[in-house]
Symmetry: none
């Protein structure tokens, strides 16, 4: 099966955004064993889209479109394809209900053009949009299958993973069972992970494995083809064992929709432990990540952002001796912050983050220098030193993830 990905959007041709949808879809299709032979990008122009479609139809069995399904004038993908195929657009009532419910909820009148998001090509299977309003579509026309997906990655990714992939499976001839398992790693780069797994990657047939670089983490997708789910799971178990024996020390969890904060919040809930934090350079980001996980209120009462040295003294009673003699970017300060905030909030665990976000240095220490403190009821507090080499906000984000990884390892060891 030969596939082609057509992205529609003038903003791509102006270089304002990058076609990461093509990267995502290509990787997914490769995992399904579908050959992608072309990517095409064309602007919001009906004549040029039709010309591109004419070329694609001749050479491809599957054409996946991204973009141009929204409500504004320059969104014209489905209109143009319908016109090309000699089909009408018809109202999809479930999508229309969703669009109306959205506007009722935000208590705003629905602009008339929003109705367009619920119009679909007649005879197509509608793909619901769980993170936006524009519906997706799947249809067969003569020998070609067409899949229309919205442009924003946060709508396209879940729509493809939740619905699009399933619609493609029957096209793949053999009725095989396809099962994926995603392993997540922190503290190792993609190229180092790939090097350590070199033999497994070189010799992959079934299951296959592919690395993906996320934001400061790496994921590994293992995909097995088999006659049944249990057979596929056996194949995945075997490969995962080999992977874990090589890089298991960086592994933190499973699944596409997972993260270090989620793993930590779940572990705290499981062990009925509470946590708090005192943050300097991260300015509240660690706590915000805790609060981003549903159910966080069971394990997190709140905490402090002690950004200035004065706030560290006045809110957490860090002694002037530590601040003046050792500095705020120090082991002593990190330990005191973690222990004082833990005691003040009466939680089981206290975390502190203090360091130099950048761009400028602080206390003669370079940007990226970070101390993370960890206090636990009835134990001596500890602190760890890191040197990150990102920009200001990269250093802040790495510090937060590293703090979560420290808490995860602590819970793994002590619970």
């Amino acid at each position: 099966m030969r596939a082609e990905i057509i992205a529609v959007g003038t903003e791509l041709l102006l270089g304002q955004i990058t076609n990461t949808n093509a990267t995502f879809l290509s990787k997914e299709l490769a995992g399904l064993g579908i050959d992608v032979f072309h990517h095409t990008v064309v602007g919001d122009n009906p004549e040029r889209l039709k010309e591109v479609l004419r070329v694609a139809e001749k050479r491809s069995d599957l054409i996946i479109f991204s973009g141009g399904l929204g409500p504004t004038k320059d969104d014209m993908t489905k209109q143009t394809i319908a016109n090309y195929l000699g089909k009408d657009l018809v109202l999809d009532q479930p999508t229309m209900d969703q669009v109306l419910a959205y506007h009722q909820k935000i208590k705003k009148e629905m602009p008339e053009n929003n109705k367009m998001q619920a119009m679909v090509i007649e005879g197509s299977t509608v793909l619901p949009n769980t993170t936006g309003l524009a519906a997706g579509m799947f249809l067969q026309h003569q020998d070609t299958c067409l899949l229309l997906l919205p442009g924003p990655p946060n709508e396209l990714y879940p729509m493809f993973l939740n619905t699009g992939k399933q619609l493609l499976l029957p096209l793949l001839g053999q009725q095989e069972f396809l099962l994926s398992r995603v392993l997540r790693f922190y503290g190792i780069g993609e190229s180092k992970l790939a090097t350590l797994l070199d033999d497994l990657i070189e010799n992959q047939t079934n299951p296959t494995l592919a690395t993906y670089a996320g934001t400061y983490e790496v994921t590994l997708r293992l995909t097995a083809k088999a006659n049944s789910e249990s057979e596929a799971n056996l194949l995945l178990d075997d490969l995962e064992n080999q992977v874990q024996s090589l890089v298991g020390s960086y592994f933190y969890g499973y699944g596409d929709q997972n993260s270090l904060p989620q793993v930590v919040v779940q572990a705290l809930q499981k062990h009925q432990l509470t946590i708090t934090a005192a943050e300097s350079l991260t300015g509240g980001l660690f706590q915000s990540e805790l609060a981003s996980i549903p159910g966080a209120s069971k394990i997190f009462p709140g905490g402090f952002v002690t950004y200035s040295p004065e706030a560290k003294s006045s809110l957490l009673a860090i002694s002037p001796h530590i601040i003046e003699q050792e500095g705020v970017v120090s082991e002593a300060c990190a330990k005191a912050m973690a222990e004082h905030v833990r005691a003040k909030m009466a939680t089981d665990i206290g975390v502190s983050l203090t360091g130099v976000a950048g761009p400028d240095e602080l206390e003669q220490q370079p940007a990226g220098t970070v101390w993370i403190g960890l206090a636990s009821k009835g134990k001596e507090p500890t602190a760890y030193l890191y040197h990150f080499a990102h920009q200001r906000n990269g250093n802040r984000e790495r510090a937060v993830l590293t703090a979560f990884d420290l808490v995860r390892k602590y819970l793994e060891k002590h619970c």
Copy 2:
């Protein structure tokens, strides 16, 4: 002049790398006033590359190729193009000297296949590679110009900027000046903005204007063509005046690299005012956004995350009467949090965020209900009610941006 960018490389079609070269080149060509109408990606396959070239030659005046100029077996861009054009590959001695010198320097024997990097299509202008070994090429064939660049971005970018761009300038008929201005809006959706600007968008010629949906905000790009920068600025001023008269109440700032937190931090710095916050549902995200802007320490000493009702009492002394009678999701609680945190941190401005992130309701109020409080030294605190309709973290992010917008408007009015 119509341009097309053809990237050659199977790794792009497997989703192993993203076509960022197309983004870079598109932006550069837009800056030169050259219209890019297509991006194409094709694998390391001579037949498919020829087919793509055949299509491109018919519709484009300029074709820029990236990738496939290296020494290995799968590099076949120039060989295929030479074959298509009926031309030979010839040795370029300066490139050959560079390849030999490189191998002398690293004290390794030159692999025989490295000679291929110095072979160029006969009759082409050679573009030297300052960061790698493979030479670039520029040639005209009938009505089409072809520019061949290497695939690695660290070779392609400097080769285009140092040499490629200069080779394109003579093709550009008139020497027009192209200038863009980006306007940023918060509190209005893309479709509503487009509706309000409908007449301007419909009748655009020069300057042009285009809307882009960002994360919870909208940007508008105005682009003018003129004979000089000052003439282009006059055209942009005139169009911007029309835009501002229609949607100016949602406008918050200029530029591609700007954000509401940045505008607020800069305004606070300018007026030498300090700010703090007490956050419930947002769990520290407002403060983290403040801390994300360099120089935030001048205007932000720190603050509180009062996630649980108990933390609101113990850390901010919110009276039990308010929490029990009015609830934590209330105007009274938002006002008290803002005023108490402002007083406790001794800042000029205090912000509070309290509400229901979701997915569950709280105090019989639905997810998305948010009160934002604003306190200012010597004034009565105020609070504002919002109903957001996103998922948990969308509601949290919208609450934070809305709080920044409130502070921005407050400063605009009172400073």
